[in-house]
Amino acid sequence: MNIINLDHLSANPLLPEVQEAMIHAIRADFGNPSSQHKLGDKASEALEKARDSVARLINSGSPKEVVFTSGGTESVNLGVKGVAWAKAEKGKHIVTSNIEHNAVLRSLRRLKMMDYKVSSVPVDSHGRVDPSDVAKAIKSDTVLVTIMHSNNEIGTLQPIEEIARITREKNVVFHVDAVDSVGVVPVDVEKLGVDLLSFASNSFYGPTGVGGLYVRRGTHIWPLLDGGVQENNRRAGTENLIGIIGMGVAAELAARDMTSRIAGMKKLKDRLLRELPSTISEYIVNGHPALSLPNLVSVSIKYIEGESLVLLLDDENIAVSTRSACAAGALQASHVLLSIGRDFADAQGTLVITFGLDNSEEDVTRFLKALKDAVKTLREISPLYAKAAQA
């Protein structure tokens, strides 16, 4: 039986066009893009072509504003620490939100060890930041605001444009973690008005191990890695050309097909949400009902634990994800779910379903059937369910 992948946030397959381009690149005799000879020129041409494609995907005014990295994690680290270090003389205060990804959280934790101070603004029950909270948190020594574009656990989109208006007015650099948004929903750096924006190739069916950081012209960052002068002195090390070529092609396809992809994802999401009430009882759909990623559904199912659910669904050849305490060694309830008001038990019983281009409505039907059985099985074992039934 084929495996139904409903965990595209963890891994996306490479599109055939991307595979082709990468295989071609592996076979082509590319030199080092920094070299002065013809082999170098050939490589540098391919590199800049990919940079153009990526810049167009996020509507950057100039391809020079795109720095290639090893993925979303590095982009975020470079954006957050790069600005913090470059601006250290101006101040050491940073503003963020309560529901950021670990890449941001842990970058900030590291900065705290270097005497930086961090203020974190709350989110509402849908996971939205109130821009006025950001305005209030900014102080005279604030050098950076970092807020995510979309949340990787609940899908909620943030009011980035409004926050950018505030950071511009207060002359504070604004970094946006858009790893789960770029290539999935329209992200226009000019319209948003942000200074830095992180993204990853795999979110839009490019290879893993490649990502980018948009750095608005005039924004000064320190590199994380010291070495050569690649990427305009912002990221040392010979570029991962084959991966970057794959990312460039994936970016072109994402820009071309964005509207139809969103329509396809939304159809699956709407169907899932429509049929959930007749499938299981006592659950909460997390995230904003409208301002949310079209490919993500987060649902907290009462009285059961997420990992058990993932394992039972895996037995039915359905791949989904959980952000529960026991997931992937994390052993802690999701800070995102707790921040939007889920209690510990509900946070544990949370399933994250992310659709991709290979999914069909038939997949949703099969998933719902398997979900119904798995929830029933686990509730029969659960002492919480028994107690609730008694009450």
Partner: protein, 170 residues
Amino acid sequence: MYSKTVMDHFRSPRNVGVIENADGKGEVGNPLCGDMMTIYLKINEDRIDDIKFQTFGCGAAIAVSSMLTEMARGKSLDDAKKITNKDVAEALEGLPKNKLHCSNLGADALHLAIKDYEARKSGKPVEEPVRKELHMHKHGEGCYCPYCETQLVEGDNTCPKCQLNVIQKH
């Protein structure tokens, strides 16, 4: 990630359920630490005649409960008291390191259920089976890390020992 034995006990857990009018009941854990387990005992002449469990938890926690009940069934109370968390984990052919805490719940719940039985027998029943509230806030005693049980600093959401994010719930 899990051994075959763990997956077998997870997929087909033995002795799931409730014993009505149980002679002993032990309940450990809470949703904050990720797992909850309840063990029910039927005792006949100081021997475990029947044992059942209910568990809210990950695959490992369910497998631990199932294996534990298999190991304890038919044993004398004295022998059952000797079952350790390590024994359960070994019978399951090992657990991933980050899941060893799940096996701790198993034997704890069994021992608590036996204690409950003995207390009732001696005429001093524990009003409700004792539940470990270790990780929740206790006034005057503070909060404890649900993972390593180190006392947390009030207002700081990072455990000073294991460096994990913990949300203090009062």
